[in-house]
Amino acid sequence: MSLAHTLLMTVAWPLAVAALVAGTLAWRHGRALVEQRSSGRYVVPPGVAGDWLSRWRVALWVSAPLPALAVALALPEASLTLDWWLLGGEWRLDGTRRALLGFTALLWALAGGYAHGYLGGKARRARHGDPDAERDLQAFVLLWPLTLAGNLMLILAEDIASFYTGFAIMTFAAYGLVVNAGSREAYRGGRAYLIMAILGEGMILAGLLWAAASAETLTLTGLREGLAVAPQANAMATLLWLGFGVKAGVIGLHVWLPLAHPVAPTPASAVLSGAMIKAGLLGWWQTLPLGLTALAGLGRVVMVAGLVAAFAAALYGVTQRHPKAVLAYSSVSQMGMMTTLVGLALLAPSLWPMLAPALVLFAVHHGLNKGALFLGVGITEHPPRLPGWLLWLLLALPALSLAGALASGLIAKWVLKAGLYDAGWSWLVTLLTWAALGTSLLMARTLWCQAHAWQEARRHGAAPAPLSMTLAWALCALLAAVPWWLTLPEASAGAVQATVLPPWGELPGLLWPVMLGAVVTAALVVACHLEPRLHARMSRAERLPPGDLWPLYVRLASSLSDPLRRGVARLSNAEETAQDLAAGCGRHAIAWLTALQRWEAWLRRWAVPLMVVLGGGLWLALMR
């Protein structure tokens, strides 16, 4: 058991927690079955609801991401080879992975703590015999660590099989989290999520198989290097880009995000939008030949798609009424910016050494802040007993940071801006800055919606959020704002300049989008108050449904699937006809044989007369 084996622990521990939950459930189920045998009718036993009271059981459950966090913070660079695993496992911890692992584990840990409070009400209902609540709770408690294990595995994986395994486990287990509420909307969001995810998995599988087989490799590094020299690199990279793009919310493939995020339980939305969405980015990072070769055509497409997402999602997002939908569109917009940078790296590989640390910084910054924002939505629905200024300060902190006005956001922006200016991409900087204006508006809109929810909650006297919820959220908001991850061991290697705060002279250039956003928002609020017609027009815009293109896709798919269904029905008819025909032929043959038998019986009966006649005839013929 070497030090590297602790890498195995990071994934094994959440899996063990999931197995423990499953085992407990199975045991109780079995015992209840045996006990209820006499009564005849079977009822679902009270499974995990009771455990939600026991502190140490919940602590065990929340501890699932802690080994990963410890590994990210303390373990030196390590790699682990697992001969027995799948096609031969190879896991690694290096600079990029450490940053992603650290923030992912942290977000999961905080969201897990938050979930404890969030699900308290459900656990109470389940204890009082509500089977629906019990079912939701069981699914959540079981699938949460499983999804986490997948997420951690895909970050650590260096071999393709582990990476794809982690990705698949995360994707499929997260479906159960998305639909956990069990409502109609939840299932609609879940369906959008699953269908898009499966299409994505298909493209990923195709891309991975094609590229890995051409390069004859089992590792992601080998895949990237092989892709850089492969003749059909453009086609393979397109498949991979689109496949991972589903998870990363590339425009056109993003439709599941605004449908699935609002319906999922809040802690699940936080990890979906904060951590899991980054799996798409990591997928690009690990499989596309970034910094190795230029794929100009694809690079341009990727860049344009990213920019379109950054602007369009912001425009559409501000019309949304549900804060989580606004945040989901904000995720699409932010991921659009990251997509733009990936496209830039495909277009100009020489920029990659500058882009890579900036991208990591951006991803970690967005992940934690988005997580904090999502967790905040639950807080405004159940306002804790905090002074109003503190509550709103903590709610506004991640919003300001994401808009780029504060700590981690400011640094991420500055690193990027400085690097791009130096490389002569000033027009891109301008565009990204304008996109940041969109982010500011989205953040303002989120806070606006939350304020509404807050007022509503206070009017109806909603129960205050439990302590664990408030604590996890406050901690997340604070940790997200402070760029502590810059102090991680190897993270500094590429991002030395990142630790440098932007000079004072640059601040106005970095802060104007936020200022402008604030001014525009304030102006709109004032104008709406003064001019009711404007207010009415704005309200009409608010009717735009989340999931913009999804209904269109559904109609398209059904118009395509109807002919397919008819075709399949025709096929089966044809098959049956053919079989009937064959059976008919068989019957005919049998009938013919039966007829032959009758003929033979007739022959037997008349054999002697026939012989006589025949003999007589022959004799006559010969005598002639």
């Binding site: 079995g30 799948l86 299932y187 499966i198």
Partner: protein, 502 residues
């Protein structure tokens, strides 16, 4: 060349001799029959395990005698054969356990278990056959011994299915017989592995060789359910669940697929098949079958019928793997022979459990079953996800090697077939999983089970539950620990290396 014939004979005899003994026992001697069945299954598994270890060490097991001049009966344990033998003995044990629980209290159990043993004995014979003549003997024995199992229930529907089954398989058998005789005339006796015999025939014989190959494929393709010869398989699903499981996972369908493997690798040789352009044809037929089976499965409402069409599709993965020239394709085909067996047997067991415990036959009756029968449903979930190709289940490994093989053989379009088939698999399996776990069912007060029986202390009878869990665990563990020696994948790789590096 009689080296180590004892073990070979003993393994074959365990199930072959058990059959008459079971026929001799009276119908109500449950304990004796069960002991006999399980004892034989365990004994055979042990013997085959011994042979597996021996073959891995490099020992050879063979037995042969001349029947008439120029035609001999040959039994031989080579890595390929022993792989199939291992699969059949492992699954026989589980299927026997399952069948004991499944048929509890139903009539004609003596007949069932007798023919069941005969069926498994013929499968073992097929696995260990050393030439086409021996193969043909056991192949036909399998056809005949399966018929009573298919029609076991004796209902008009079962009888009709049995008639269809016989019509297809006997016609296939005739074609196979003609092909074997023609090959005999052309090249004399060809033992499996003597690939040079056909390879040395001059180009003037190539037209004949191609013709015979097509005939062989038609004959074997009936059992392997290659479209359009698959018609009997979906109908035969009226048989009891253990029979369906055996039919789809090891016995009949696999016998056809295994025969095709033997013909391609050990009679023609992969090099000759490739030269004659036979592999491309096989690849196209297999791809067509894969897509056709998946499409048809989509429209089925009966659980077992959907599984049957899924078999049509999945078994062709084996043929597809074989038709990809190169070691990766070989590994894919051979590993899938085992992988598909593990996953499909699990799925059919589950379907049987649903039918037995709750009277569920149709997919729309499965709402909320996950909470009533979590063990079975977990096994079904694992099997279905494996079929879709989700890692770390075994189905993913098959798909991975198929993809590698496709590129190695210069046929990248196969990847498109694979992905399309995965998507279709997801389209017909995931709705079932959705119903199992996410839809409210009778436990939540929506509707009622069609016909609930409380068969055991747990969610269903232990005889039915444990085999399901065991095979599901195998299909998970064979994927997770694929890198260990004696895993299906490692064994398939071993065979592939022998095939390509003589």
């Amino acid at each position: 060349m009689n080296d180590n014939p004892g073990l070979l004979l003993a393994a074959l005899a365990t199930s072959l001799l058990v059959a008459p003994l079971i026929f001799l026992l009276p119908e109500r001697a449950w304990l004796a029959r069960t002991t006999l069945n399980l004892g034989a299954a365990l004994l055979k598994l042990g013997l085959v395990a011994l042979m597996v270890a021996g073959v891995a060490r490099g020992d050879s097991y063979a037995l042969g005698f001349t029947v008439v001049e120029g035609v001999s009966f040959q039994l031989r344990a080579d890595p390929l054969g022993i792989m199939f033998a291992g699969l059949s003995s492992l699954l026989w044990l589980f299927t026997t356990l399952y069948a004991i629980g499944y048929l509890e209290g139903s009539p004609n159990r003596k007949r069932f278990f007798g023919f069941f043993s005969l069926c498994v004995a013929s499968t073992l014979g097929i696995a260990l056959a050393g030439n086409l003549f021996t193969f043909l003997l056991f192949y036909e024995l399998l056809t005949l011994s399966t018929y009573p199992l298919v029609v076991h229930r004796g209902t008009p529907k079962a009888l009709a299915a049995g008639a269809t089954y016989l019509r297809y398989t006997v016609s296939g058998g005739v074609l196979l017989l003609i092909a074997v005789v023609a090959l005999h005339v052309l090249a004399g006796e060809v033992n499996f592995g003597q690939r040079e015999v056909l390879a040395e025939l001059g180009p003037e014989h190539h037209a004949w060789l191609i013709g015979i190959f097509v005939l062989l494929m038609l004959g074997l393709g009936v059992k392997a359910a290659l479209v359009p010869l698959h018609g009997w398989l979906p109908q035969a699903m009226v048989a009891p669940a253990p029979v369906s499981a055996l039919l789809h996972a090891v016995a009949v369908v696999k016998a056809g697929a295994f025969g095709i493997v033997r013909v391609v690798y050990d009679v023609y040789g992969i090099a000759l098949s490739y030269e004659l352009g036979l592999l491309a044809g096989l690849a196209i037929a297999a791809s067509f079958t894969i897509l056709y089976g998946s499409l048809r499965a989509l429209a089925q409402v009966d659980i077992k019928r959907r599984l049957a069409f899924s078999t049509v599709s999945q078994v062709s993965y084996i043929m597809l793997g074989i038709s990809l020239f190169g070691p990766m394709g070989t590994i894919a085909g051979l590993a899938h022979l085992l992988h598909q067996g593990l996953m499909k047997v699990t799925l059919f067991f589950c379907a049987g459990n649903y039918a037995e415990e709750l009277g569920i036959h149709r997919i729309d009756e499965l709402d909320g079953v996950g909470r009533r029968m979590p063990g079975t449903s977990l096994a079904f979930t694992l099997g279905a996800l494996g079929m879709i190709g989700i890692p770390p289940l075994v189905g993913f490994l098959s798909k991975w090697y198929l993809g590698m093989g496709a590129i190695q053989a210069g046929m990248p379009w196969v990847i498109a077939v694979l992905v399309a088939s995965s998507l279709l698999n997801a389209a017909y399996f995931l709705p079932i999983l959705y119903r199992l776990w996410f839809k409210p069912g009778p436990l939540e007060g929506c509707g009622a089970w069609p016909e609930e029986r409380r068969l055991g202390r747990l969610e269903t009878s232990a005889w039915l539950l444990w085999p399901v869990l065991a095979t599901a665990a195998f299909s998970l563990l064979a994927g997770v620990f694929a890198g260990l020696p004696f895993s299906p994948l490692s064994w398939a790789s071993l065979i592939a290396t022998q095939e390509y590096l003589p």
